[in-house]
């Protein structure tokens, strides 16, 4: 390719971004845009897939048929979200089997929140309320991602996440109307998931070197700290209404800023969990690998059946 052509392509890409138009599959994009986008979408897809596990653990122990049906639908949605996202990653030239391998052997990450255990059924509610609530905060702006297939997948996902958050909050409201032991479970789950939920927005802005480039490319629309603040502001009144205390003594309304102030996140813990040393990292990946390995004969049988059907 001549230098002039390369410059033309870059100019066309820059112009598309500047006009806030969408990049579509097969458009020329800079290599770094492609690599960043594949990494972002794959990491998001992996999070959805691994995210099935913490709650999936409770399907067989749901307290009623109603809760079981809801939880099944929710976990099935998480699988669906993973599939939409792998599909979007493939439009950039990624290979799905390759992405699965990268998840299983640790070359690609998933959200650190899923490395925390789910100890009681209240955790199912708190994950819906806080974890899916934080995910919605993160994901709504991504519906305007400059990469078209990702943005379209996010529109679909955000619609479904709303059900996830509401079922969680409703579950918690039900428990709060129950016994003292049930209320204690909700408070305990809130205590355990509050800080990890704040970590879901990623490192603080001054420690997030890629944010600026990602915002220029329109693949990130707000900084990590902006989204974290938005989440805190949205969640405090919900906690009040529910009757639980968020485990942060520094949490208070700041009249001047018109935002809630909140305490310092333990970034050392975040780094440790991302590095693989969270409570459940090994278990989550091992289970994903086992599911993949155990499914090998099914994939092979389906392939053989298809070949036989084609031949006849």
């Amino acid at each position: 390719m001549t230098a002039a052509t390369q410059a033309d392509l870059q100019a066309h890409f820059d112009q598309t971004i500047a006009r806030d138009r969408r990049i579509e599959p097969r458009d020329w994009v800079p290599d770094r845009y492609r690599a960043t986008m594949i990494r972002q979408i794959a990491q998001h897809a992996h999070s959805e897939i691994i995210g099935m596990q913490p709650e999936g653990n409770w399907i067989t122990r749901a307290p009623s048929l109603r809760r079981k049906a809801i939880l099944l639908a929710k976990v099935q949605d998480e699988a669906g979200h993973g599939m939409y996202l792998y599909s979007a990653a493939e439009t950039l030239g990624a290979d799905r089997g390759d992405l699965t391998d990268k998840l299983i052997d640790g070359r690609q990450k998933y959200s650190s929140i899923f490395n925390y255990p789910t100890l009681t059924y209240a955790d199912v509610g708190v994950i819906g309320w806080l974890v899916d609530g934080a995910a919605i905060c993160n994901q709504v702006p991504l519906c305007r991602s400059s990469y078209g297939p990702y943005a379209r997948a996010m529109v679909r996902i955000c619609k479904e996440e709303s059900f996830h958050q509401r079922q969680g909050y409703e579950l918690l409201m039900t428990m709060m109307r129950g016994t003292q032991a049930q209320r204690d479970m909700v408070q305990d789950a809130t205590n355990r998931f509050w800080w990890p939920s704040l970590m879901m927005f990623g490192p603080p802005d001054d420690a997030s070197p890629n944010t600026e480039q990602s915002m220029r490319w329109g693949i990130k629309r707000h900084t990590n700290d902006e989204l974290r603040q938005r989440f805190v502001d949205m969640t405090v009144p919900q906690a009040d209404k529910l009757g639980v205390t968020l485990p942060d003594p520094d949490l208070s309304w700041n009249e001047a800023r018109e935002h809630y102030d909140f305490g310092a996140v333990d970034w050392a813990e975040f780094k440790a969990v991302v590095a693989g040393n969270g409570p459940c990292n090994t278990e989550r990946v091992a289970r994903r690998k086992a599911a993949h390995d155990d499914g090998a004969w099914v994939r092979e049988a389906a392939r053989a059946h298809a070949a036989k059907a084609r031949a006849s």
């Binding site: 579509e24 599939m83 950039l92 030239g93 290979d95 994939r299 389906a302 392939r303 298809a306």
Partner: protein, 108 residues
């Protein structure tokens, strides 16, 4: 209509997906066209249809599904500046607004 995404950029890593890729199109309700919604992998078209139902119509989003092997789609270049679309660019007289009609002519 959402643009189909059939052709892929060449992959630097070897392609080793075990099942081929299918593109999925949904008719949201009677009276509407099928619209591209995404893709999935399946061993054969029948399985692709079942997967499409599970993946893309969990909330009554469709009354009809098409699945098409991605390798069977022929697509134009996505580049808007492509001369492929140039012939329609300079034919403004194909649009009703090209014609000046006095405002007081009724039903026009």
């Amino acid at each position: 209509m959402t643009e189909p995404q059939p052709e892929r950029e060449p992959d630097p890593a070897p392609v080793r997906s075990e099942w081929p890729l299918y593109e999925v199109f949904l008719r949201g309700k009677r009276g509407l066209n099928h619209v591209h919604v995404g893709s999935l992998h399946a061993a054969d078209p029948q399985m692709a249809l079942h997967h499409a139902r599970d993946l893309y119509t969990r909330r009554n989003e469709g009354v009809s599904i098409w699945v098409v092997a991605a390798s069977d789609i022929t697509a134009s270049s996505p580049d808007e500046k492509d001369p492929f679309f140039a012939p329609s660019g300079d034919k403004v007289y194909r649009h009703p607004t090209f014609y000046q009609i006095p405002d007081d002519v009724p039903h026009m």
